[in-house]
């Protein structure tokens, strides 16, 4: 139902342009590098991921630690240089872009980090942190405009503008996360990659930040790529969900549909492991045995088969492709229907 802005004349492109379109993105890190030797092995942190985000949309990205979700999030905003693939942002491929060209584009996409303690400079006041973003992109013509903009931003994220001259250590974790959000908002981005923005926060503060992110989205039409391991949080905030395992997308689709009727056995297991507060819930829990395998030597066939409760013979040899099994619903499993 969302109204997409068409940026190109309809003759050039009939379909509405996605804000972000990632095609076959790969990020490989060298492993066991010898001083002069050639690199023989690679950690395939992200191994051929494609995704798209429409303007104003929230896409959730879930998976266990080590699945590559953070690397993917960082590669999308070019904090990590991808090994291969295309990152088309507002119609331009930014995958190979760098220097001044990339810096100019950075205004359009920002990032919020997990650790509200580590992601703020302890020696800069709040005004300094937010003002830095304004200065880099030359968004404040003079000192009074700069001050006004900082005040507005602080109000937008629910902080008191009179606290602008305070340092990060004077704030609680939730307030610090709000400062991080204000810093990202300062340059009026169209896309914010949120990397586990609430997992370091107290339960009572988590909900405040999630509501804030949703309010800001409604007001400013920002799209989010929301990276998290908490499925309940991701289901709540996202319109679509991508489930990642060992560097690949194994399931994708509408958030509610994925959480209610998971098609991939991994999604199923992830969902069943989410703890429930209600002691009367009669949910069947699927216990996955073992850990996520090493991304240096992924298992042959389906990467999930060693932990899969329904694996068959062909799962051990044939790699399942991510295929559309219903409208807007994708799964990488031989058995998914």
């Amino acid at each position: 139902m969302s109204v997409c802005r068409i940026r190109h004349p309809p003759t050039a492109r009939a379909v509405p342009v996605n804000l972000l379109e990632v095609q076959n993105l790969k990020v490989h890190f060298p492993a066991h590098q010898r001083l002069f030797g050639r690199v023989k092995e690679f950690v395939r942190a992200v191994d051929g991921v494609s995704l798209s985000i429409a303007p104003g949309e929230t896409v959730g990205l879930v998976g266990e630690s080590g699945c590559g979700k953070t690397t993917l999030g960082r590669a999308v905003v070019k904090l990590i240089q991808p090994t291969a693939g295309r990152i088309v942002f507002e119609g331009e491929d930014i995958a190979g872009m760098n220097g001044a060209a990339l810096r100019a584009r950075r205004r359009r996409f920002q990032m919020i980090f997990q650790d509200p303690f580590g992601s703020l400079n302890p020696r800069l006041t709040v005004a300094g942190t937010i003002g830095e973003a304004l200065d880099i992109h030359q968004l404040a013509p003079d000192a009074s405009a700069r001050r006004q903009r900082i005040d507005t931003l602080l109000k937008d994220v629910g902080l008191d503008p009179s606290h602008a001259q305070r340092y990060p250590h004077e704030f609680s974790g939730g307030q610090r996360q709000r400062i991080g959000i204000a810093r990202a908002l300062a340059v009026e981005p169209k896309l914010i990659v949120c990397d586990e923005p609430v997992s370091a926060l107290d339960v009572s503060v988590q909900a405040q930040i999630i509501n804030l992110l949703q309010d800001l989205q409604r007001e400013h039409g920002i799209a989010y790529l929301f990276v998290a391991h908490d499925l309940a949080v991701v289901e709540h905030i996202s319109r679509r969900i991508l489930v990642m395992y060992l560097g690949r997308i194994v399931e994708a689709g509408d958030a509610k549909a994925v959480c209610r009727f998971p098609k991939h056995p991994y999604t199923h297991a992830l969902l069943s492991a989410v703890p429930v507060v209600d002691p009367n819930s009669k949910r069947q829990r699927i216990l996955l045995s073992g850990d996520v395998p090493s991304p240096i030597h992924p298992p042959p066939g389906c990467p999930f088969h060693p932990r899969c409760p329904v694996a068959e013979a062909r799962c051990r040899t044939e790699v399942p492709a991510l295929r559309e099994i219903g409208p807007g619903r994708w799964a990488a499993c031989h058995l998914a229907k």
Partner: protein
């Protein structure tokens, strides 16, 4: 006689007017073989309460201003250093949040488990016993793991090793302080399952410290909710989770997003957790409470018996009748 009984524990950091009372009048009891969950957000005093059971909070700076911690009937706060060494591990063992930090990085895991055996059960300090313990905590191919270093294992496996170290001394009480917070949900489910099995097999009591209400229902018989150094609600965990009485417990349960729940907006608790030393007057929750009354800011409520459980709020019963619309 309960295995553990904490009576009116008072623990403060610093002294004089600036003293921060991190634990203020906490009373708990735990019977052998049972599980008690102590739930609270950061700064609620749950971890220092748990650490106090084996006097693991360094004092100074901590100062026990009053109360008793009776472990098997004997007051830990009055024990000599020698006695403390005996109960640490011997009666009560700990499993902490970060297994990677708790294990010694320069010793093989077999040696670390054996160290605990040498201290508490020297007669069985053998590889065979270490292997048996590794099997108990569900480590696959334990023979090949004996000579591994902690960094060669995943977080979930490290936590299993930590549990094996804790079990080696055959404690009567296992204190699990956020044992799954650093782990993925799938691994969290494995560790919870393991703790549950161990409790049945070994008849050990578990004190579970957590901020995650979801794992409480799975594991605990009783539940105590802490806020700002005090217990605000205490009762059977099923009953508390199903029908929370204290406004804080209610708000805490409602602010957890549930899978499959169709809510537009999450309910929130405005403000943030107060720090020890800066607790509000009167009821410590009143600045954030959705059903605050004029007297709440003046009069500190006592923990009182209501509907078969202890609640620190005089309006708790009426509060449940009108579920408030919390919103920020």
């Amino acid at each position: 006689m309960p295995l553990l009984e904490i009576k009116n524990l008072q623990l403060q950091f610093g002294s004089g007017p600036n003293a921060a009372r991190a634990v203020d009048g906490v009373s708990l009891s735990l019977d052998a073989g049972k599980t008690l969950a102590l739930v609270g957000e950061s700064g609620s005093g749950k971890s220092v309460t748990a650490l106090s059971i084996a006097r693991l909070v360094p004092s100074p700076p901590a100062h026990y201003a009053g109360g008793e911690i009776l472990l098997e009937g004997r007051d830990v706060l009055r024990m000599s250093a020698r006695e403390l060494r005996r109960i640490r591990g011997g009666v009560v063992s700990y499993v902490f949040q970060e297994p990677g930090v708790s294990l010694n990085p320069v010793f093989r895991i077999g040696a670390q488990i054996k160290e605990s055996l040498k201290l508490h059960r020297p007669e069985v300090a053998t590889d065979a016993e270490v292997l048996r313990l590794l099997k108990v905590v569900g480590i696959p191919a334990p023979e090949s793991r004996l000579r591994s270093y902690p960094h060669e294992m995943s977080g979930g496996m490290q936590q299993r090793v930590m549990i094996a170290v804790a079990l080696a001394s055959q404690p009567k009480l296992l204190v699990a302080d956020e044992p799954t917070t650093a782990l993925d949900v799938t691994i969290q489910a494995q560790i919870i399952e393991l703790l549950r099995d161990l409790r049945t097999q070994l008849g050990m009591a578990i004190l579970l410290i957590t901020h995650n209400l979801g794992i409480v229902g799975d594991l605990a018989d009783d539940l105590a909710v802490m806020y700002a150094g005090q217990i605000v609600e205490r009762g059977r965990s099923r009953e508390v989770l199903q029908r929370p009485l204290h406004p804080y417990t209610q708000a805490l349960i409602r602010s957890v997003p549930e899978l499959g729940a169709d809510v537009e907006r999450l309910t929130t608790i405005p403000g943030s957790v107060p720090l020890p030393g800066a607790f509000p007057t009167g009821c410590r929750f009143h600045p954030r409470c959705p059903m605050v009354q004029p007297q709440c800011s003046v009069q500190a409520p006592e923990l009182a018996l209501q509907a078969g459980r202890q609640v620190r709020c005089p309006f708790a019963e009426s509060a449940t009748l009108q579920p408030p619309a919390l919103s920020l």
